[in-house]
């Protein structure tokens, strides 16, 4: 296993050579990701690994892709989407314009899910969804709106549990093992690179979704990211996190009201 000292060297070198700052990542998780990559690619010693990371930019790209976790699905945790559908969207509907930010959107499955929810609530036409990630490769993939066809059975089931009433297959065209989602869904989506560690607030939003991203940060960086979200939320707007994430360890929670037991908080002050 890579030790703490080596990890520190690696983090410093990455920052120096590429400008990515992983120093605020959860040590336990980051170490496991690096370990996994190190073993997967068969490095013999840490020095060799370090030298490849430093000198080979393509390898560094691979590393970023492998250590950032991109496990996602459409309507992930369907009951969460049901609450969005039934309790959050009716409130947002009263606004003249709806701005949504998916921070850490990965390959975009949840962004398209949100677009479907908004369309079914007849709100998509007055919405704009910003979807950001630090990894440009997943953003390229997200922009296409193309997902594996074999996943559609699961996604369709999720969609139904989330309260969807339509035939899910109406939303995509199947083609050689792939499902291409309808263009009208992506018209209101803006994908761009944004790093929660180093970039700042870029707009004010009515709903920010950041699901299963903060778990990879340590407490200080979580606090910093939450502050960034706070700066980007207008009063009475919503923040949604992953099912096992919470703002209760942050002083910020005093200014937010939790929606029952859901991982959705409303900014009240």
């Amino acid at each position: 296993m890579v030790n703490d000292r080596e990890l520190e060297v690696l983090i410093n070198e990455i920052y120096e050579y590429y400008g990515y700052d992983f120093s605020g990542y959860s040590l336990a998780s980051f170490k496991r990701r690096i370990d996994r990559l190190y073993n997967l690619d068969g490095f013999k010693n840490f020095t060799e690994f370090l030298s490849v990371v430093r000198s080979d930019e393509d390898y560094f790209k691979r590393m970023v892709e492998e250590i950032t976790v991109n496990v996602t699905e459409m309507f992930r945790d369907p009951l969460f989407y049901k609450v969005l559908r039934n309790e959050v969207l009716p409130v947002l509907a009263t606004k003249p314009f709806i701005r949504v930010w998916h921070a850490g959107c990965s390959t975009g499955e949840e962004v398209y899910s949100m677009a479907i929810l908004l369309q079914e609530a007849n709100l998509l036409h007055k919405s704009l969804l910003y979807a950001t990630d630090l990894n440009p490769t997943v953003l390229d993939s997200a922009r296409k709106g193309v997902f594996q066809l074999r996943m559609m059975k699961q996604y369709s089931e999720n969609y139904i549990v989330s309260g969807g009433k339509k035939d899910f297959s109406e939303y995509y065209t199947a083609h050689y093992g792939l499902a291409k989602f309808r263009d009208e869904l992506s018209e209101k989506l803006v994908f761009s690179q944004h790093n929660l560690v180093s970039d700042r607030s870029f707009n004010e939003f009515d709903l920010i979704l950041c699901r299963n991203v903060l778990i990879y940060f340590d407490k200080d960086l979580q606090e910093k990211a939450l502050q960034l979200f706070d700066d980007s939320l207008s009063k009475l707007s919503y923040l949604a996190l992953g099912t096992k994430e919470t703002i209760k360890f942050s002083p910020m929670h005093k200014r937010y009201e939790q929606l029952n037991r859901e991982k959705i908080w409303r900014k009240i002050k």
């Binding site: 296993m1 959860s26 040590l27 336990a28 998780s29 170490k31 496991r32 990701r33 976790v69 496990v71 945790d77 009951l79 299963n212 903060l214 778990i215 990879y216 340590d218 407490k219 979580q222 992953g242 099912t243 096992k244 994430e245 919470t246 209760k248 360890f249």
Partner: protein, 194 residues
């Protein structure tokens, strides 16, 4: 090592198990009144959004059961249960981190992941118990626990509903103890409850 031997300085006990483990836990936990260490339970479970397992275990013990969320502080005297669909990792500051990365041994939570991460942080202060199950998860993790100087206990496969998992561990190394269900109960109550 004898089953009544005190493990000094055990700060963390992790019990890992799969099919056939819940019934073992339901025998071990009710007689526990208090524990001087943190107990983390990593069971293979169906991915679901409910808290059935937490509720079931909480109903069977007076030791408080805490819901695990990301960065939950881990305190002595409490039971923590790995949530479905997340790996549980251990931070240097005694908090628990969650991780949704790929399954390990077809499992999330994976026992190997938690054993390995805890071994790295707690070393000799870690005690790991592997129970019944039908897959190979846990063995690699126990190897890491051993390397880090922790204590390893494996359920006697003869007494396991599904012997594959404990057998697989025993075929790969010699645990500190191989115990039946009653002995595991005594061990948890006595040996490290000091």
């Amino acid at each position: 090592m004898e089953k009544d031997k005190v493990i000094p300085g055990c700060r963390l006990l992790i019990i890992g198990g799969s099919a056939g483990s819940l019934e073992v836990l339901l025998k071990i936990l009710p007689p526990l009144t208090s524990i001087s260490f943190s107990l983390v339970i990593v069971l293979h479970r169906k991915s679901a959004e409910d808290n059935t397992l937490e509720e079931l275990i909480a109903a069977k013990t007076v030791v408080p059961v805490t819901e695990v969320e990301d960065k939950t502080p881990m305190l002595p005297g409490y039971i923590y249960i790995a949530p479905s669909d997340y790996h549980v990792l251990f931070e240097n500051d005694d908090t628990l981190s969650l991780d949704t990365s790929e399954k390990v041994n077809y499992s999330r939570p994976s026992i190997d992941v938690s054993f390995e991460s805890a071994a790295d942080v707690y070393g000799p202060a870690l005690c790991a118990i592997l129970l019944s199950g039908a897959n190979a998860d846990g063995t690699a993790g126990l190897v890491a626990v051993r390397k880090a100087g922790g204590t390893i206990i494996v359920q006697d496969p003869e007494t396991a509903g599904m012997p594959f998992m404990p057998n697989n561990a025993i075929e790969n190394f010699i645990p500190d103890m191989v115990l039946n269900v009653e002995e595991i109960g005594e061990f948890v109550r006595g040996a490290i409850h000091k």
